[in-house]
């Protein structure tokens, strides 16, 4: 550690002010909750701190980052990096947090509201830090910052058997996945002698993907397995249906959105899909390696199988479900599969500029998926009352008669999940499969088949999503749904519905696409300063 590195390290704190704001607010709410209970007070506090955090983020995003030699040193030594991808994800996390706070406004019991909201704030901070992580240790800590409050959050609002089972199941399997992740990290450290992700990638890249020691494959597989748990990629998905079903609705919405975001960002970082300048520098005499393949040249084929397996399994099992939350859990697995298609194609697309970069498509789809899934869960929460819970698909019968506008919004979410045009789901799928079709060379046929598998899956998805729409519109209820007055819940719904449509057509689509492109603005173009 030289003086420059120390100075850079000392300078990192001001960039994580948004997360510090969230942490301070969370602490305050934890303590305050022991003095005064009441969900409205603490909901306002949480909302305020999220907005404050967003505001602080706009300021810190303007801070000058170290550049030149200092920038290079920062890349290879500091535990956190604040590139545009990090800022993009942090904004997403905070916006998702705002939606989830509104969502849970009337869902959480008064007694637990403060604890619940404080945990939520910590999770949002954790997602933000995951996006910034540039070191295996900080990445792991950030991911745990997401996991640990999640255990509490799943347990807090409900105490029945199902909720306990869900919390415990998630707890045990999450710990298991963390262990796997750490195991992989230790191999990465053993291979390269550093925990800095940029340095690891640089070192491995210098060796050229082909003749990598077998240890790298083990590291790759365990890291993907550990993160696969968070993104619910099959075969690491099996907890999802039980946990979603048992968890409170808002907890399920959170599980479906934030860990997925964090998991995919972590994959992008660790496997080197997105790297800062000067990391992937070709070495003379070594084969040229594509981004994302620094660890192993088997990465795309691994994701190919993972994607095909995940989406097929998710969709086929979703067809069999009657419970709404279980159905959405399997749908979440299926959508993870579509996102993995983007990752599988990403290395081959990194050098083609037809607007179908796999990482862009992935980020777009993450946003689209988050919006429509949170919306769908929000509808379930909005309609459920203790006297007449909405658990099964059949419980939605006749919704179009009793709640025409809510039914319309749920229909929008479902059509978006199917991938009908004029919804964000369509644009996202379009970008992903456009990317898969855009792969050229030897792999072209392989990826065309993947696209065909994906489209057939989307059609299977049509069957069960359509069932929900059919139940709402084509059937009448035996016991009409009552619903209740819940303005914040309604606001969540409306925001999600507006975003689902708005992000698919101009100008919303263009804004999001630009943001996504800026997020990965740091291109991995080789810089002249070669050897470190």
């Amino acid at each position: 550690m030289n003086d420059l590195q120390n100075a850079l390290l000392a300078g990192q704190f001001r960039y994580i002010l948004p997360e510090i704001v969230l942490a301070v607010a969370a602490t305050g709410i934890f303590i305050g909750g022991t003095f005064r209970s009441g969900r409205y007070l603490w909901s306002w506090a949480a909302l305020g701190s999220l907005v404050a955090s967003l505001f602080v983020l706009t300021i810190t995003a303007g801070f000058v980052l170290p550049s030149g030699e200092a920038g290079r040193t920062a890349t290879f030594s500091t535990p956190l990096l604040f590139d545009s991808l990090a800022n993009f994800v942090r904004v997403l996390a905070i916006v998702a947090g705002i939606l989830l706070v509104l969502f849970s406004w009337n869902e959480v019991p008064d007694r637990h509201a403060a604890d619940y909201l404080a945990c939520l704030l910590v999770i949002i901070g954790g997602v933000g830090l995951t996006a910034c992580a540039n070191d295996l240790v900080s990445l792991y800590l950030a991911l745990e910052l997401i996991s640990i409050p999640t255990y509490i959050l799943l347990y807090l609002p409900r105490h029945d058997d199902a909720a306990q089972e869900a919390a415990l199941k998630y707890f045990l399997l999450s710990i298991f996945s963390s262990a796997l992740l750490l195991f992989g990290f230790s191999y990465l450290y053993g291979l390269t002698g550093t925990t800095n992700i940029a340095a690891i990638l640089h070192t491995l890249y210098g060796q050229g993907g082909g003749d990598m020691p077998a240890v790298a494959q083990i590291a790759l597989i365990t890291v993907v397995a550990g993160l696969g748990f968070r993104i619910t990629a099959a075969p690491f998905h099996f907890y999802a249906p039980d946990v979603y079903q048992g968890a409170p609705t808002v907890g399920a919405a959170l599980l479906a959105s934030l860990p997925k975001l964090a998991g995919f960002i972590a994959l992008l970082r660790v496997l080197g899909f997105v790297t800062p300048d000067g990391v992937l520098v070709p070495v003379a005499g070594r084969p040229h390696v594509l981004p994302g393949m620094a660890l192993s040249d088997q990465v795309p084929i691994l994701f190919w199988f993972l994607a095909a397996f995940t989406m097929s399994l998710g969709n086929l099992l979703a067809v069999l479900q009657d419970n709404l939350k279980r159905l959405l859990a399997y749908s979440s697995v299926a959508h993870a599969g579509y996102m993995l298609v983007a990752l599988a194609a990403a290395p081959y697309l990194s050098e083609r500029s037809s607007g179908s970069d796999g990482v862009h498509a992935l980020l777009y789809y993450l946003v689209a998926y988050g919006v429509m899934t949170i919306g769908a869960f929000a509808v379930i929460a909005f309609l459920s009352t203790p006297e007449r819970p909405v658990d099964n698909v059949e419980d939605l019968a006749g919704l179009s008669g009793s709640h025409p506008y809510v039914a319309l919004m749920l229909a929008v979410f479902m059509f978006s999940l199917i991938g009908m045009p004029l919804t964000a789901g369509f644009t996202g799928k379009f970008l992903i499969f456009f990317g898969a079709m855009n792969v050229v060379g030897e792999q072209a046929d392989l990826y065309r088949w993947l696209a065909v598998i994906g489209m057939l899956n989307a059609a299977v998805g049509g069957w069960y999503y359509l069932r929900i729409i059919a139940v709402m519109y084509l059937r009448t209820a035996l016991r009409p749904i009552q619903g209740r007055r819940n303005v914040p819940g309604l606001v969540t719904l409306i925001v999600c519905a507006v975003l689902t449509i708005g992000l698919s057509i101009p100008p919303g689509a263009n804004v999001l696409l630009d943001a996504v492109k800026n997020a990965t603005g740091i291109k991995s173009t080789p810089s002249p300063i070669a050897q470190r």
Binding site: S354, M437, N438, R448, I469, P506
Partner: protein, 560 residues
């Protein structure tokens, strides 16, 4: 900018605005809802006639380029494009950008040419009868019904007008949604299953179509570094690439065309439907309300054929010739015979007409895939014919069902004595459908047969197919006339009904019947304006097919 450039927007936006207005009326104000819908659909029909008039007045000469490599740009540009960069030079698509994707941009690119003009008019003309026929049939959630009906019209018009390949797909896919609700809410006893089956069947196909669309766009991009979604531009670029005499390029494009062709066909074949993919159709037809059946048979099936004309043939001419021609023709001919026999076996009149649609559409597809100028023109003409005559048949069956609440043939007999005017109308529609000279069906079928006869294949299949198809038409006459005999003639047997005597055709019903019947007569007696207007565009398509034929012969010679 002249007012034609707004006309397309009016046509597209009017039904949508109408749908929103109608939906907001609430379920109570039924009469207002019906009147607004009727008014809107009449205005649309009127606009479409103006459009047709202006288009027919245009001078659109076209001569085929002599050499295959000669630039054939500009020639696929449609007319009346809103937001055209410059009205003088028709080669740059439109200015109305939607979503930029890297180097290219998805555009809001609408237009009219000889292929889609009459389909647009057909769409506009079929809707006022749909509104009228539902006047007394639909009593529940009336506002939603008409809103979905008008939304469906927007989608179908959008499919026909779109000249941007992604926009085309967007409308193509969106058209499922209104019909899903129309069948699912206002349909028969099996409506939920029918609606879901219809939706998922067509969704599966159309998602694969989307991949095909991406495939052709990206193939053009990787070869020419032009990323475009404009159909005319794609057609030009693809055919320029195809004309390159280079074995590597030739092999590449053959494999790409194979991929694109199979993906596109997956969607359109379900929509048409070609035979193994037809099982959703009878179910959807039987369960749909009358207006839904009319739209389904009259318009939705045409989208499939239109997809073949607009995308499949121009974008994959070589594979269309080498594989599509035998494959599609065989399937279509099987469909003609199979549909006819199935239709004969039906007791449910609606199902009978549904199967007759499979049979008729088979003829259409066989003609289109003869890939000759005559066959293409015949197929196009037959699309419009089928829309009119099958639309009429469904409307008339709807009227009968409204009176007696049964569609089973064994419940009826000798109805001509009870409802003579209705009998006349049904007879007219049946004769139009079986191709009586003097009515529209005859012209279309004759052209189709000529087209199939002309078909030049290496194995001389044309005449054979034509004979089989012709026998299919004889079968068509057989089952339709049988239906008429059982329904209208013989000893009188009236289904049980409550209340006063059943009235014959009412004024409202005449208003649904007469305009369509008049068009049938007009097209049957004087088809020339229609054929002349679509001639240049059909010739362009045929030219592309001829170029593909030349290339095929060159390949055969080279192999020798």
């Amino acid at each position: 900018m002249e007012f034609e450039h707004y006309l397309l927007h009016v046509l597209l936006a009017l039904p949508l605005v109408g749908a929103i207005v109608v939906a907001l009326q609430g379920p109570k104000r039924q009469t207002a809802v019906r009147r607004i819908s009727l008014g809107v659909s009449l205005v649309i029909a009127f606009c479409s006639f103006i459009l047709a008039g202006r288009f027919m007045a245009l001078e659109r000469p076209w001569t085929a380029p002599q050499k295959p490599t000669e630039r054939i740009s500009t020639t696929f540009q449609p007319e009346f494009v809103p937001g055209l960069k410059s009205t003088a030079l028709h080669d740059a698509g439109t200015d109305w950008d939607l979503i930029p994707l890297g180097a290219g941009t998805v555009q809001f690119y609408l237009g009219v040419d000889g292929i889609n003009l009459f389909l647009i008019v057909l769409t506009a003309v079929l809707f006022p009868p749909c509104v009228l026929i539902s006047w007394n049939q639909v009593h529940e959630r009336v506002n939603e019904f008409y809103a979905w009906l008008l939304a469906l019209q927007t989608c179908v018009l959008g499919v026909f007008m779109a000249f941007d390949i992604v926009l085309f797909y967007v409308f193509f896919e969106l058209s499922l949604v209104p019909l899903f609700f129309l069948i699912g809410i206002w349909g028969g006893p099996e409506r939920r299953y029918a609606a879901r089956k219809f939706f998922v069947y067509t969704l599966t196909g159309s998602l694969l179509t989307l991949l095909g669309i991406m495939g052709v766009v990206l193939a053009v991009y990787s070869r020419t570094h032009v990323l475009t979604f404009s159909i005319p531009e794609l057609v030009v670029l693809v055919n320029q690439q195809l004309a390159i005499q280079d074995s590597e390029s030739r092999a590449y494009w053959l494999s790409i065309q194979m991929v694109v062709f199979s993906l596109l066909v997956a969607g359109f074949a379900v929509k048409v439907p070609l035979v193994p993919f037809h099982t959703w159709l009878p179910l959807a037809h039987v369960e749909a309300p009358t207006a839904g059946s009319v739209d389904l048979a009259g318009l939705l099936l045409k989208i499939g054929v239109y997809g073949f004309l607009r995308l499949c043939i121009p974008l994959t001419p070589d594979v269309s010739l080498a594989w599509g021609l035998p494959l599609v023709t065989v399937l279509a001919v099987i469909g003609i015979i199979y549909g006819a026999f199935c239709a004969y076996a039906q007791d449910d009149v609606k199902k009978l007409i549904a199967y007759s649609s499979i049979s008729h559409l088979g003829l259409c597809m066989a003609a289109v895939y003869s890939l000759t100028a005559t066959g293409l023109a015949g197929g196009l003409f037959q699309m419009v014919n089928h829309g009119l005559s099958t639309g009429l048949l469904f409307l008339l069956i709807g009227m009968l069902y409204e009176r007696y609440h049964t569609r089973m043939l064994q419940d009826y007999s000798g109805m001509a004595t009870r409802l003579p005017l209705f009998g006349f109308c049904l007879m007219f529609a049946v004769l139009s459908s079986v191709g009586l000279p003097g009515l529209n069906g005859f012209v279309g079928e004759a052209l189709c047969f000529f087209g199939i006869m002309e078909e030049e294949t290496t194995y001389g299949g044309g005449p054979f197919f034509a004979v089989v198809a012709l026998s299919g038409m004889v079968l068509g006459a057989w089952y339709l006339i049988t239906m008429v005999r059982r329904l209208l003639f013989g000893p009188l047997k009236e289904p049980h009904h409550d209340g006063p005597a059943i009235p014959d055709m009412e004024p409202r019903e005449w208003a649904t019947f007469l305009p369509l019947a008049a068009l049938c007569l007009l097209l049957g007696l004087y088809p020339h304006p229609f054929l002349a207007t679509s001639q240049p565009d059909v010739d362009r398509l045929a030219h592309l097919a001829d170029a593909a034929r030349q290339r095929q012969q060159q390949d055969v010679q080279a192999r020798r």
